[in-house]
Symmetry: C2
Subunit: 235 residues, 2 copies
């Protein structure tokens, strides 16, 4: 069995299971077949299957109960990485959408944290909505040498990025800084906080496994319209 240059079996299996859950083939609360049967059907050893199941349990998608079985936990979305911090309405939830306001390649601002090797960077400004109402503006910087051209189309949904983030292959470190900052003057009128007024603020820096490329983002939002929520564990 040549397995060279392919992903490990336990990753392949875990990805396959995640897709099945995301597609709704495995409903919330559903109980999986026992590990021995499942391993036989998937043509792999129980140990390898258990490693794959551990990945899902770690993402909070599976509840493993000794003596009972493995149960699907749909819960707070399958978007494991993005779900770590999620903008929500105060009452919880809300359908998130993003509208790109501006995409330009320009010199990096001096007050930004140092990141990457290039002197230029892609600045992306977006309007974030929950259930249609504007709740935040955000600014994202990508290292200039990361892409030669960048369009609003690329940002909507990159399949490559989807798999990359999902597989957790490149995002090696994330650092969030949370505090209060003035609302930026480029915030559109739809954002009803006056520019310069204090608003909640989050900045994120993430590095890939190579250590080189870094992203920098800012988000401002109104506490009474939306909050950031992070969840940990399998509760």
């Amino acid at each position: 069995m040549p397995t060279s240059s392919t992903l490990p079996k336990y990753i392949q299996v875990s990805e396959r299971l995640i897709r099945e859950i995301a597609a709704g083939h495995l409903a919330d609360g559903a109980r999986l077949p026992n590990e021995r049967d499942m391993a036989r059907d998937l043509n792999l050893s129980v140990g390898t299957l258990r490693k794959a199941l551990a990945v899902l349990a770690d993402k909070g998608l599976l509840s493993r109960v000794q003596g009972s079985g493995n149960y699907v936990r749909q819960r707070a979305g399958v978007t494991s990485v993005y779900g770590f911090f999620r903008l929500e309405l105060p009452r919880g939830g809300g359908l998130p959408t993003a509208q790109v306001l501006d995409v330009t390649l320009r010199d990096k601002p001096g007050d930004a944290p140092a990141f990457g090797t290039a002197t230029t960077g892609w600045r992306i400004r977006r309007l974030r909505r929950l259930d249609g109402t504007v709740v935040a503006v955000e600014e994202i910087w990508l290292d200039g040498d990361r892409a030669t051209t960048l369009t609003a189309q690329d940002l909507s949904e990159s399949l490559y990025q989807y798999y990359r983030d999902r597989l957790g292959l490149t995002i090696a470190a994330v650092e969030d800084r949370l505090g209060v900052a003035p609302v930026p003057d480029w915030a559109p009128a739809a954002f009803d906080l006056a520019p310069g007024k204090l608003a909640a603020h989050i900045s994120r820096v993430s590095r890939d496994s190579a250590g080189a490329r870094v992203e920098f983002s800012r988000t401002w939002f109104d506490y009474h319209k939306a909050r950031y929520v992070s969840r940990m564990g399998r509760g």
Copy 2:
């Protein structure tokens, strides 16, 4: 080999290694012996040792490099659970201390998130400092039936809680909500933001594996004096 009613070997070993790192016997950057030798010295199989090392790697205390070795990563503290969110000075770091202002058993406020079964709760108000300067005030609620008596002494450092949190045996879920809120009117004068003014705000709800007991906390802090920082990954 009777192992009944004891912790699994891989947990025992991981705890032992964590203690050695915390005690400084294993310095930052130090390279561990190879797994085969280490397993022989500790009198266990390589597979079990690997499981223990995986625990440390998951906590960010160990960097495992294929073909090279296992390296200690002291980094951002050994307090895995608490270290998830850490108050820091804008320039980074700062020695954190806490001063208990008030501990009282009282009826739960109506505006608080529902938690626990009791109608009363312990309210703890603390002053947080970094390098001596006040940077935040925080309010913590414990379910009333969690303890019959509670003193400031108990809060300083509970060994039981230390091991419980360290072992990750009970904290099953954590939820953080971040936003902007007014500075509370009980903030002491040392906190130089006027009460009622907006400040950064974080509330945390955590549940144990039983699902019953929940803690609720709030923190206000001045962005220019301190920020919350969270770190993920092994960067």
